[in-house]
Amino acid sequence: MKAVSFQIYKGETFGLVGESGSGKTTIGRAIIRINEASGGQILFRGKRIDGRIEAALDRELIQGIQMIFQDPLSSLNERAKVDYIVSEGLYQTKPGLSGAQRLSIVEKALLEVGLLPEFASRFPHEFSGGQRQRIGIARSLVMEPELIIADEPISALDVSIRAQVLNLLSRLQKEKGLTYLFIAHDLSVVRFISDRIAVINRGELVELADSEELFTRPLHPYTRALLSAIPIPDPIQERNKEILIYDPSCHDYSKEKPAWREAMRGHWVLANGQEVDSYLKLAPIPATEQT
């Protein structure tokens, strides 16, 4: 990982896109403090949350930031009942609850994610991938977090299930004013759900913009290559599209080092001055608008 900076605004969905090994998961885990950041700062509600922090802040963070995992098979404890899995966080944040109170919170959370309350007494083994993923979502919901880090939440699910989970995430965002950091490798999914998108390549952010802006005016050659590779479910368009291949050696950084620059309002790109100019001149019309 190289140095990476970005801000996530309250109530938005911030998409982080990159291919395998790009470091996108590392960023998510650094924010939720599973991995330690070796340098730099992470701020949440204006307070620094990396490195050593006080116990009170720690509690606040556990409550305020939650995570949804990629693999619905391994992200639930097979030896515990749904009841315990969903309520696990309450033991820390609300230690005084009685069993009945906890159960009612669990049942409410299950209903919210479209599952039946009677599932509370069952084991994860009994559920399908989509249902398990929703149990995982319920588990983070009971904490009433402000920020949810969703690390590839639908990539391990069946196609017909993905839409359910995406819809659920959007609905919960509207109802509860959640903020999402949505990490994925699939640009079409990220475009659908995100307000802003950051593209990461080999541990470096290369571009960041509002999602429609990014799709209509991708600047960095890597972003352009990624966009060109998205499969389009339309045979005529798809057969005629041109695939761009990103060659990392296309940059000439001998004279001027690249920097994180704001090429247009709110549209950032990793480039040197000369490159920014040439990118803007190109300002390509993306394939998706040709129709």
Partner: protein, 347 residues
């Protein structure tokens, strides 16, 4: 399109025995494969699409068997082949297969070149030396740089995309008539995925084989397939040319598959989604298997299994919606939008 039939499957039923219970994985699927075409079989996990194609090369797992139906290929009924010897003349030679995960489908301890060479010495009767130079040519053809030195390396020295290229080289080495690609790109990054699909398409043009793609991703299908077959719960529920499936789908399951793609969604609105999960194949399925998940299901869907209705000579769908007596049901908005766009473009 050439309309000579290469392979014809009729009413195939495949069953598995699992811990004392019998599961019907394929429930009477029929399909034709035409010479030189690219056919995509689309379905989610558990729909039986992999099992279906495995019967073409006799590679069902030990506990599975073809219960009834036939598979005609070059005048033979493949379901009647029993011995290893009968299959060996076919596997890799006439029908080749590329598997999903290139990371695990090569033997980690044998040099890549040697693994490809095996096919040549086996099916083309080459000597080891002949095979060696043929392998280098093949590797070059599938776009592996420095093929001569690369062929001596072990799989772990290859990247994921390169491995899949090597596996493809292996599959086409004996000049098969049919190439089956089982989710060839799911394990790869999007950029690599596009390159691999392009490669297979180019090879198909050069070598003239017929391709079957198995995939769950309709986006991939649009790029490569001439024809699409949609599979649900062990049955083919709709077949048609790529245009017919994408612009004029008739089966509600196809609608669901298409319109749940985020590419077709409108931001800020819900994606069209289908509730529930596919049926348990251990149980007897009555009527239309998709009915319990279909909000617009009719009573007949729970009683009788729908036959294949003909939409056009190339387009068939198994849904009671095509019966003239059924009430009219409009496809979801995303499907209508696709159709409108297509018609707009055509006029």
């Amino acid at each position: 399109m050439n309309s000579t039939t290469v392979l014809e499957v009729r009413d195939l039923v495949v069953k598995f025995r699992l811990r004392g219970r019998v599961l019907t994985a394929i429930r009477g699927a029929s399909l034709e494969l035409y010479e030189g075409e690219a056919l995509a079989i689309v379905g989610e996990s558990g729909s039986g699409k992999s099992v279906f194609t495995k019967t073409f090369i006799g590679m069902l797992d030990q506990n599975g068997w073809v219960d009834s139906g036939s598979i005609d290929f070059e005048g033979r009924d493949l379901t009647r082949q029993r011995t290893e010897g009968e299959w060996m003349g076919l596997r890799g030679r006439k029908i080749a297969m590329v598997f999903q995960d290139p990371m695990t489908s090569l033997n980690p301890l044998v040099p890549v070149g040697r693994q490809i060479g095996e096919v040549l010495t086996l099916h083309k009767g080459m000597t080891k030396d002949q095979a060696r130079s043929a392998v280098v040519e093949l590797l070059d053809r599938v776009g592996i740089p420095e093929p001569a030195s690369r062929s001596r390396q072990l799989p772990h020295e290859y990247s994921g995309g390169m491995r899949q290229r090597a596996v493809i080289a292996m599959a086409i080495a004996a000049g098969p008539r049919i190439l089956i690609c089982d989710e060839p790109t799911t394990a790869l990054d999007v950029t690599i995925q596009a390159q691999i699909l392009k490669l297979v398409k180019a090879l198909q043009k050069d070598f003239g084989f017929t391709t079957i793609y198995i995939t769950h991703d309709l986006g991939v299908v649009a790029n490569v397939a001439d024809r699409v077959a949609v599979m649900y719960a062990g049955k083919i529920v709709e077949t048609g040319t790529a245009e017919e499936i994408f612009y004029d789908a008739r089966h509600p399951y196809t609608w669901a598959l298409l319109s749940s793609l985020p590419q077709l969604g409108v931001k800020g609105q819900n994606l069209y989604s289908i509730a529930g999960t596919p049926p348990n194949l251990f149980n007897e399925i009555k009527g239309d298997a998709f009915a319990p998940r279909n909000p617009r299901a009719q009573k007949i869907d729970f009683e009788y299994e729908p036959p294949m209705f003909e939409v056009s000579p190339t387009h068939h769908a198994a849904t009671w919606l095509l019966d003239p007596r059924s009430p009219k049901v409009d496809p979801p908005p995303a499907i209508q939008a696709m159709r409108a766009r297509y018609q707009g473009r055509a006029s």
